[in-house]
């Protein structure tokens, strides 16, 4: 079982869109996939029309994997299941702060799912917190969407600094450009500059696209309702690149 997280300190960079589309494409490619929506806003769950449980189960999230099993819901697509977000997830940091070995907690509960799934995708909230630390310890790959703008570039640097300061292996961090508008000079120059200097930068770039925005309207991955659109093709290319890397892990 491989685990990957879509993560960025900054919000609105395309983490959820990436998680949703990659989860869908992985399932289509034959991976038994579980998407865990860790962001209490529940956007991933919304895209798949999955409602969260009415019970306040967030407090049991890190206890045992059996707790997670109870919350798994099938999506409309073969081989793709979802653990929808719950608003109690916003207390994860407070919960983890009270627990020993908190950075290992998530890894431990996810381990119990390895018989059922080939791939787990974590859609993370935009914070740098105890939860993010637990995510960094639990996954094989961290995908970081980066909008080619100064602010987004800056948050990516902050993430790299965090990894260095905390002796975390940055070889698992894979940035890729998201919401790219090539006609913008800033985007173009940022891409050109970072392409030469950023290690492990993925080749696939996700364009800024109205089709991707329409995912909310369709409540389904773009790769499902408009696979041939530029956005759909970009996610396909991104998945192919990631799949190759996952196989080597």
């Amino acid at each position: 079982m491989k685990t990957l997280a879509c993560y960025s300190i900054k919000g609105g960079v395309g983490k959820t869109a990436s998680s949703v589309n990659l989860a869908y494409l992985a399932a289509q490619a034959g991976y038994r996939t579980l998407l865990i929506d860790l962001d209490s806003q529940g956007a991933s769950s919304f895209y798949f029309r999955v409602r969260p449980s009415k019970k306040n189960w967030g407090k049991r999230f890190f206890k045992t994997y059996e707790q997670l099993l109870k919350q798994i819901k099938a999506s409309d697509f073969d081989r793709l299941d979802i653990i929808p977000a719950h608003e109690s997830f916003r207390h994860f940091d407070a919960m983890l702060s009270d627990q020993g070995k908190r950075e290992q907690r998530l890894k431990r509960v996810l381990k119990g799912l390895k018989k059922e799934y080939d791939l787990i995708i974590l859609d993370c909230p935009p914070t740098l917190s105890y939860l993010s630390e637990a995510v960094f310890h639990a996954v094989n790959m961290i995908l970081v969407p980066v909008i080619p703008t100064t602010l987004s570039e800056r948050t990516f640097e902050q993430l790299q600094d965090f990894f260095h300061r905390n002796d975390l292996p940055d070889r698992m961090v894979y940035p890729f450009f998201s919401m790219v508008q090539r006609q913008k000079h800033l985007h173009k120059s940022t891409i050109e500059r970072l392409q030469d200097t950023t290690p492990r930068l993925l080749e696939a770039q996700i364009p800024f696209s109205t089709d991707i925005e329409k995912m909310g309207e369709h409540r389904s991955p773009i790769s499902c309702f408009a696979p041939r659109s530029p956005g759909g093709q970009a996610y396909e290319a991104l998945w192919q690149e990631i799949a190759r890397k996952l196989e080597k892990l």
Partner: protein, 507 residues
């Protein structure tokens, strides 16, 4: 595990009412509606049907398989002829195993409508899969729950249950084919022969003979039309069994009658030997290629092309023979003798079959024991072949009369014998194949390339033959051990059991 259930609804009005009820409580989205004319396939022995499996084709590139009530679709497949030609590897492997490589024949047609619906909640999230399959002989409603949506599944199930459906033990296709009057042929390569222990042994022999004779005749058309190599194989096996029956039970029907049958059946079988040898050889092509280095492959492929040509000619000759008046008159003669059998049974022929059969089995076992004593690692191959033939005779006896003895005694015996026979059979096959290769080299003007390939193959087969030979001692020992001996002993009715001083079983 997700919930799953299937139900039978007999009339189409109820189906419409059922769908309306779903529409009232959920959003019912048709995902796929297709109409197909399906041809169902099975082999001559109905292997699939007997295992409650079905294989169908729409003759437009789609194959459907029902396995343990589970329906699976396979796209891009031609109508099946042989399992080996199927494209999907999983399907190919499993059908090949089930049908034992035999040809598939269309056996029935059904008009089928598949309707697959997604049952959606108010968020339009799919919460259950609903499949409705209509065959004209009933409607199957199938519900599949989705993980995390158990409540919704129960609601869906209640809607079905409300219409008071019948339970469906098997897939609707199987039910429909049965209603259509489709049933498997009574043919079996190993027919079950019901005998009572008190039956006169001569009558028992006659019953077995007429059953086996039917098998001989059933396979003729398949040989003539060359449907698959299994027909010739089973034709020969039935003839061999008949011969074994008449020779081993000669005390029951009389020596002269036994001799007559033996002669006639040998003549009939004789004409089929060469074709069978060629079939066996051709079936081993891939295996042989795997035994020798790639540089010899061209030469060997050439050899197989020659053999395939010869097979074609041989098959034509045999088909002609089976259609000839000579053959038909000989068959007619044998047939009338079998129907008159036993013509003048000796005294022993009126003894109970249980007694006669058990004595014969014990006698055969003793004969193998005596022959096996002399077998050492250096014994000539001919001696091993004699043991193989004796084992075959014992196997036939055990199969003919299996019904007369307790299953718990016969099964371990047959199992042990089968293991030994497999070993001896492989050893013999290797000997025969090597001999055939030698004959080919002698009789044909083989190219240098083919000659080199044959030599390479011959040495590989020789080493395999030695490996098999090395196991024979141990296998024989296992077959002659005390447990098996006790089991054989136990077959004799208590009243006739006595032991000789040598410790051999009484006959």
């Amino acid at each position: 595990m997700t919930a799953h259930s299937r139900w039978l609804i007999k009339d189409s009005d109820s189906t419409e009412r059922l769908l309306d009820k779903y529409r009232q409580k959920f959003t019912l989205e048709p995902m796929q509606i297709r109409h197909e004319t399906l041809s169902f396939y099975d082999d001559f022995e109905w292997h699939l049907w007997h295992r409650k499996q079905l294989l169908a084709s729409n003759n437009k590139g789609l194959i459907l398989r029902v396995d343990d009530s589970e329906l699976t679709f396979f796209d891009g497949e031609n109508p099946p002829v042989f399992a080996k030609n199927l494209i999907n590897p999983t399907l190919k492997q499993s059908i090949q195993k089930l049908t034992k490589g035999r040809r598939l024949f269309p056996m029935a047609e059904l008009e089928v409508e598949f309707c697959h619906y997604a049952v959606r909640n108010k968020d339009l999230k799919k919460v259950c899969d609903l499949s409705v399959t209509l065959t004209g002989y009933g409607t199957m409603v199938e519900l599949k729950g989705l993980r995390g949506y158990d409540k919704e599944y129960r609601r869906c199930l209640n809607i079905v249950l409300h219409s008071k459906p019948d339970e469906l033990e098997h897939h609707i296709f199987l039910n429909s084919l049965r209603l259509l009057g489709i049933k498997p042929s009574s043919y079996s390569a190993r027919p079950h022969i019901a005998l009572t222990p008190e039956l006169d042994s001569c009558d028992a022999v006659a019953i077995i003979a007429s059953t086996l004779w039917k098998n001989v005749r059933c396979n003729e058309e398949g040989i003539i039309r060359d449907w698959d190599t299994g027909f010739l194989h089973q034709y020969r096996v039935a003839l061999r069994r008949l011969r074994a029956l008449f020779t081993q039970m000669k005390q029951s029907i009389g020596r002269d009658e036994s001799q007559w049958f033996k002669r006639q059946l040998s003549q009939v079988a004789q004409a089929t030997g060469r074709l069978r040898d060629l079939d066996v050889c051709l079936a081993s092509e891939d295996y042989y290629l795997s035994l020798i280095p790639a540089r010899f492959h061209n030469g060997l492929e050439k050899l197989f092309r020659d053999i395939a040509c010869e097979r074609q000619k041989e098959q034509k000759n045999l088909a002609q023979r089976l259609n000839s008046p000579e053959y038909l008159s000989q068959i007619g003669l044998i047939e009338s003798h079998i129907s008159l059998c036993p013509q003048s049974p000796p005294r022993k022929g009126h003894k109970a079959i249980l007694k006669q059969a058990s004595r014969q089995i014990v006698s055969r076992y003793n004969a193998i024991s005596m022959d096996a004593i002399d077998i050492t690692g250096h014994s000539p191959d001919e001696q091993v072949h004699d043991v193989r033939l004796a084992c075959k005779k014992l196997r036939y006896l055990l199969e003919f009369f299996a019904d007369l003895f307790p299953k718990q005694e016969i099964r371990p015996l047959l199992k042990a014998l089968k293991q030994l026979q497999n070993n001896l059979g492989r050893f013999n096959d290797l000997c025969v194949q090597r001999e055939n290769l030698e004959i080919y080299l002698k009789d044909r003007n083989a190219s240098a390339e083919t000659e080199a390939a044959i030599h390479a193959l011959n040495s590989a087969l020789y080493s395999k033959q030695r490996q098999e030979r090395a196991h024979i001692g141990l296998q024989l020992e296992a077959f002659l051990d005390d447990d098996i001996r006790r089991r054989v002993e136990s077959l004799i009715p208590a009243a006739v059991q006595r032991k000789s001083k040598t410790g051999r079983l009484s006959e």
